[in-house]
């Protein structure tokens, strides 16, 4: 007799458990559908945006390239930039020029480079301005200047963040 009652309880529990399970499945399916539709809406909006602003985007991406130095290898890139920095410093009559790369601080897309030099403060400033305007891929992050006395030459240490991008030879820009 109790057996019959227990069996009925088992049926009740089984049916309700199945109902709850299906309900849970339905709810998760609803979320999936909603997410998929939202994704579709966002995709459409993204595509519309990309189509409407394709020129600006292309221009921006192109401009962005100026903020990275493309090189086939990091060593080659560093060699180039170290050389260019040295030439630049010399062009502004700066002496005791030394360029050091902090290889241990490589982030994978940028590496600190330190330019040390000595000269008049005016020339140093001119050199910094040239760096700022011509070397977008190596922004100055820190400048330390020491002047021993009034009228004495300034000892300068410029820290740059060399941003690079390793590219295949055919995609190099």
């Amino acid at each position: 007799m109790m057996d019959r009652m227990n069996k009925r309880w088992i049926v009740v529990v089984a049916i309700w458990a199945a109902a709850l399970a299906i309900n849970y499945w339905n709810i998760s399916k609803m979320y999936q559908i909603r997410e998929a539709r939202e994704e579709k809406v966002f995709l459409t909006m993204d595509e519309q945006f990309l189509r409407a602003h394709s020129e600006e985007i292309a221009e921006s991406l192109k401009k962005r390239e100026a903020f990275f130095h493309s090189a086939e290898a990091l060593n080659l890139g560093l060699l180039t930039v170290e050389n260019e920095l040295g030439v630049l410093a010399t062009r502004y009559d700066l002496a005791e020029v030394d360029v050091t790369s902090m290889l241990d601080q490589d982030t994978g897309s940028s590496i600190p480079v330190v330019l040390s030099c000595e000269g008049s403060l005016k020339k140093i400033v001119e050199c910094l301005e040239a760096l700022h305007s011509d070397y977008a891929y190596a922004p100055v992050t820190k400048v330390s200047v020491e002047i021993e006395g009034r009228g004495a030459p300034a000892r300068c240490e410029v820290r740059l963040n060399y941003r690079y991008r390793i590219v295949r030879p055919e995609t190099q820009t």
Binding site: M1, M2, R4, M5, R8, W9, V11, V12, I15, W16, A18, A19, I22, N23, W25, N26, K29, M30, Q32, I33, A36, R37, E39, K40, L43, D46, E47, F49, L50, I57, S60, L61, K63, R64, F67, L121, I124, V125, E126, C127, L128, E129, L131, H132, A136, P139, V140, T141, K142, V143, S144, V145, E146, I147, E148, R150, V158, N161
Partner: protein, 472 residues
């Protein structure tokens, strides 16, 4: 016969040593089938064929057992909670009847409050061992009754309907037949005990019968006063013409009342068992309406019956819900397919491309913004140099453009008079203010002057100063 099969209430009546099967129609009319002795029914060889065929496939409903198979007791009990009362009664029965373990499964109780306000439970229970054997046997054949009652309970339901204030005080009911008489005693509406009395043979007048009846009634009244600690207030009688009510009243020396309309109704519409013995003259009202009379159920079955509608409703509602949810699930599955196809084929690749293009565009904008906001180190030095008064010159200078743009400088200030220091430094601060607009306003307190290390210089004194400030 067809009528009985469709609408009959199967009843089993228990006599001294036999069982009767009765099929009763909705209006009380009945058909009594052949009796079956206990010996035959309870023997090991007995099988379902012992039961009349018409009875074998009927849903069994009511069993009427003799009153003496029933015990009753009154227990003082304060609470009105049914769960507590049931547990209490079961515990009492187990303790009082250790040799009959099944007694705890066959009882009924009512809450009872005396006129003095004392609360109690009035418990009825089956205590006859033969009953339990009989019940087990019927369970084997799936013929166990749902309700078990007694003639006293059936009379009680009739008397409550017909006699005002039956539930107050002590009442006796005398049911006289040709050769025997049944005495029923009720206290405050609850059955207390009954007696069966064999009357002398009728020999022209009823004097002997009245004498016997009077004697037995008086004995029973005394027994009642002992059991109930109260007196019988009223005596009712249904004699069906066998004796006169007035004769008994005269002999007893107290009033004996007839129950109005009872005899007429019984003789007209009800089934009266013609068998001698316990069931002789038993009146069977419509037993299909089980709520009208007190009965005892097998407790586990009663619980099952109580829960059965809940379970059935649970199954039905759950099943309907399950179907609806399953239907919903199928629809959702179908709806999700086109969406899924769109996103899994070319759509996903397109989405990835779009996301990648936007990511690059966002990165480019972030980079532009960052570089636009980055202060120029060269211009900073120029502004600083322009801010310097004649008597201040730089010894050390640090310009940071990231992560927190700022300037930190150490320099020398020269003055001929102590008051000139302040003027020169104020001039320096004014120059900074002019050339570094947007920075935090600087004051003299921001300049750290190393007064301990001032020294003479060019006819005046020079001191080392230090200053830090952030760039916009």
């Amino acid at each position: 016969m067809r009528l009985f099969k469709k609408h009959s209430t199967p009843i089993t009546l228990i006599g001294h040593d036999e069982i009767y099967f009765v099929l009763q129609g909705g209006s009380g009319e009945g058909q009594i089938l052949d009796p079956l002795s206990f010996d035959r029914l309870l023997s090991d060889e007995a099988d379902l064929s012992a039961i009349p065929k018409t009875f074998q496939h009927q849903a069994h409903s009511v069993m009427v057992v003799p009153d003496y198979w029933l015990g009753n007791d009154r227990f003082p009990f304060q609470s009105r909670k049914r769960s507590l009362a049931e547990a209490f009664v079961e515990r009492k029965l187990r303790a009082d009847f250790p040799d009959i373990p099944d007694v705890k499964d066959f009882y009924e109780y009512v809450f009872h409050q005396t006129s003095e306000g004392e609360t109690a439970v009035f418990a009825y229970f089956l205590r006859e061992p033969t009953f339990f054997q009989l019940y087990d046997q019927l369970v084997r054949w799936n013929l166990h009754p749902r309700r078990i009652t007694t003639p006293a309970f059936l009379w009680a339901s009739q008397l409550k309907e017909r006699i005002p204030d039956f539930v107050k005080g002590g009442n006796a009911f005398v049911h006289v037949l040709a050769k025997e008489c049944f005495l029923y005693f009720f206290f405050e509406g609850h059955f207390l005990f009954s007696r069966q009395i064999t009357l002398p043979e009728f020999e022209g007048d009823t004097t002997d019968q009245i004498e016997t009846l009077t004697y037995e009634t008086n004995q029973s009244l005394y027994l009642f006063s002992q059991k109930a600690k109260a007196e019988v207030d009223r005596i009712f009688m249904a004699s069906f013409g066998h004796v006169e009510t007035g004769d008994l009243a005269e002999k007893l020396g107290r009033e004996v009342q007839e129950v109005p309309g009872l005899e007429e109704e019984l003789t007209k519409a009800s089934t009266t068992i013609g068998q001698p013995g316990l069931l002789s003259g038993l009146y069977l009202p419509d037993l299909s309406q089980s709520h009208k009379f007190t009965s005892i159920s097998y407790k586990p079955m009663e619980r099952e019956q109580e829960w059965k509608p809940v379970q059935k409703m649970g199954i039905a509602v759950g099943f309907v819900l399950l179907l609806l949810l399953a239907g919903e699930g199928v629809l959702l599955w179908q709806w999700s397919r086109p969406v899924g196809t769109e996103t899994t084929s070319g759509g996903r690749a397109r989405a990835r491309e779009a996301v990648e293009a936007l990511r690059q565009y966002n990165e480019a904008l972030d980079l532009f913004l960052k570089e636009t906001q980055r202060p120029s180190a060269g211009k900073t030095i120029i502004h600083l140099a322009r801010s310097l008064p004649e008597d201040v010159w730089i010894k050390e200078l640090v310009v940071e453009t990231e992560p927190t743009p700022g300037v930190s400088l150490a320099g020398t200030v020269r003055a001929e008079q102590p008051t000139q220091f302040r003027e020169t430094l104020s001039e320096f601060l004014d120059g900074l203010k002019d050339h570094f607009q947007g920075t935090r306003s600087l004051g003299l307190q921001d300049i750290d002057v190393d007064a301990d290390n001032c020294k003479a210089l060019d006819g005046g004194r020079s001191c080392v100063i230090a200053l830090e400030f952030g760039l916009p």
